[in-house]
């Protein structure tokens, strides 16, 4: 059976070039970079080279890069570290409703500890308003936390504008770039961020590696305590092979970005055009233009997402209906409901995220297997049948029609 992987926002396959560079660091160059003997020194050098590559990919100084175990840890460290270190200045954090769970849950836990958190709404495209942020800033605000691109609908937030605002008002600004890095340009100065979170396994790097960019001079405190690694900013023996792999893929991502954007935008737009054209009672979710080039997301009415995914999976197509973390959960996506999509429609979400190995044939295959699945599930659905919708105007679900 043909296998098509359209779930690159959950994770990506490891790039073979990165795998090749990582391999010797498991068995041959295995030293602890904190050791100063021969085995340690060589490894230290490789870790620092990887740091330069990651820094180079986002326009940062290598000393501003802290390696972590992944995007979630970076985000946790960024938010908690700023909040704890700036308590003298204030206790107010501004974030928005469509952030990844690692942001939202860290903010919620801080709220329980007595911090004040403003969760800003988003518009129907999932976009946060810069004016809303400006209005929410108070004397007590220490951090603005807004993601670069959303992982479920791909909407790209006005991060550069927020960065300018944050700088003017003297507030720290963190952006979660786990979904945007490798898909759109990410440059810390252009974005005006003080902190930025990155994940390796979303850009064809290994799982278990990520980074936190910490702008020089940022008042921040670490989360982990122990061996003083990463210049006292993140304790724990460095995950050397993963760091090497991350460095390589960060370099590749930056170098191949332009080509990737053009190529994937073409595939993505074909999917959007064809899917929207072929079905009734369907909507594109997220911003029509300001979206990551690899992401197509829809809501199909009268259908539940998991059934759709299982059928696609039986045809060899791996897709998602939200973030992988919550794909087992029964709650409709918080991102979609925050955008004003009714819960019963949000349940029918389908998220396709393309990657560099996908081809036009993959897209055509998907477009061929999708229609019978949709028809079959809609036939089985007791909700307003789409054929009947034309006449049954009072049917509750019809209010959600496009």
């Amino acid at each position: 059976m043909r296998r098509v992987y359209f779930d690159h926002s959950s994770t990506t396959p490891l790039d073979p070039a990165a795998a090749g560079e990582m391999a010797p660091y498991f068995t041959e160059f295995f030293g602890n970079p904190s050791s100063f003997h021969y085995f340690g020194r060589g490894v230290r050098k490789a870790v620092e080279e990887a740091r330069e590559k990651v820094a180079g990919a986002i326009g940062a100084d290598p000393r501003e890069i802290v390696f972590t175990s992944g995007g979630t840890e970076s985000v946790n460290m960024a938010i908690e570290g700023i909040a704890q270190a700036n308590q003298k200045k204030g206790n107010h954090i501004i974030t928005c409703a469509v952030e990844h769970h690692c942001s939202l849950n860290t903010c919620k836990s801080l709220a329980k500890k007595g911090f004040e958190v403003t969760f800003l709404p988003v518009d129907s495209y999932g976009m946060v308003s810069v004016d809303d942020i400006a209005a929410a800033i108070t004397d007590r605000t220490v951090l603005i936390n807004i993601m670069h691109a959303n992982n479920e609908v791909g909407t790209i937030q006005p991060v550069a504008e927020i960065g300018r605002l944050a700088r003017e008002r003297g507030v720290y600004f963190h952006s979660d770039a786990c979904t945007s890095f490798g898909r759109v340009p990410v440059n810390v100065d252009d974005l005006g961020v003080n902190l930025l979170s990155l994940s390796a396994h979303k850009i064809y790097g290994p799982k278990g590696a990520g980074a936190l960019y910490l702008r020089k001079g940022t008042r921040w405190q670490p989360l982990f305590h122990g061996g003083a690694q990463e210049r006292m900013r993140r304790s724990g023996t460095e995950n050397v092979p993963a760091i090497i792999g991350f460095g390589k893929t960060a370099e590749l991502a930056a170098a191949g970005l332009e080509h990737e954007i053009t190529y994937l935008t073409g595939l993505r737009d074909k999917i959007i055009r064809e899917v929207i054209g072929r079905f009734d009672n369907i909507r594109l979710t997220g911003h029509p233009e300001k979206r990551t080039p690899n992401l197509a997301s829809f809501c199909f009415e009268f259908i539940e997402g998991e059934s759709m995914l299982l059928h696609l999976d039986m045809q060899g197509v791996a897709a998602s209906s939200g973030s992988a973390c919550t794909s087992g959960s029964l709650e409709p996506s918080h991102v979609l409901t925050s955008m004003g999509i009714p819960p019963e429609v949000a349940h029918g979400s389908l998220l396709l995220t393309l990657g560099k190995n996908n081809t036009e044939e993959d897209v055509d295959y998907f477009l061929a297997v999708l229609p019978p699945i949709i028809e079959r599930l809609r036939d089985m659905s007791p909700l307003c049948h789409y054929d009947h919708c034309e006449v049954e105007e009072d049917c509750i679900t019809c209010t959600a029609r496009k």
């Binding site: 029964l330 409709p332 019963e344 007791p382 909700l383």
Partner: protein, 123 residues
């Protein structure tokens, strides 16, 4: 995640559809939660002669709906009432724990359909 039996009933659901002149109809769930099950029964001499379902929901919701129709077809009303959500889950070789309470409602829909049938018979 799902047993082979669940996947079988999900991919080849038995008794999908509606019975236009049903003797009883039962519906549970709501679209906000992500699951709606509707069961239609036809009763002849106290025996469930025909049964059909329509379901909006996840893999577990569809599979349990299909399984319950298979379990009760040809059974008496009293026998059918003994079938619980747990019976259905067991007949499917189990369900993931988080699906047990939310998406395992097919027996409830069946019981509602029987209740509806009994209410109609009283009139």
């Amino acid at each position: 995640m799902y047993s082979e039996k669940v996947m079988d009933h999900f991919s080849n659901p038995r008794n999908v559809g509606e019975i236009p002149d049903a003797d009883g109809i039962g519906e549970v769930g709501n679209p906000t939660c992500g699951d709606i099950m509707k069961i239609f029964i036809k009763v002849k001499d106290g025996v469930i002669d025909d049964i059909k379902f329509k379901t909006f929901g996840c893999g577990a919701a569809i599979a349990t709906s299909s399984m319950v129709t298979e379990l009760v077809k040809g059974k008496t009303i009293d026998e059918a009432l003994k079938i619980s959500n747990k019976t259905v889950a067991e007949a499917l070789d189990g369900l993931p724990s988080k699906k047990m309470h939310c998406s395992n409602l097919a027996a409830d829909a069946l019981h509602k359909a029987i209740e509806d049938y009994r209410n109609r018979s009283k009139k």
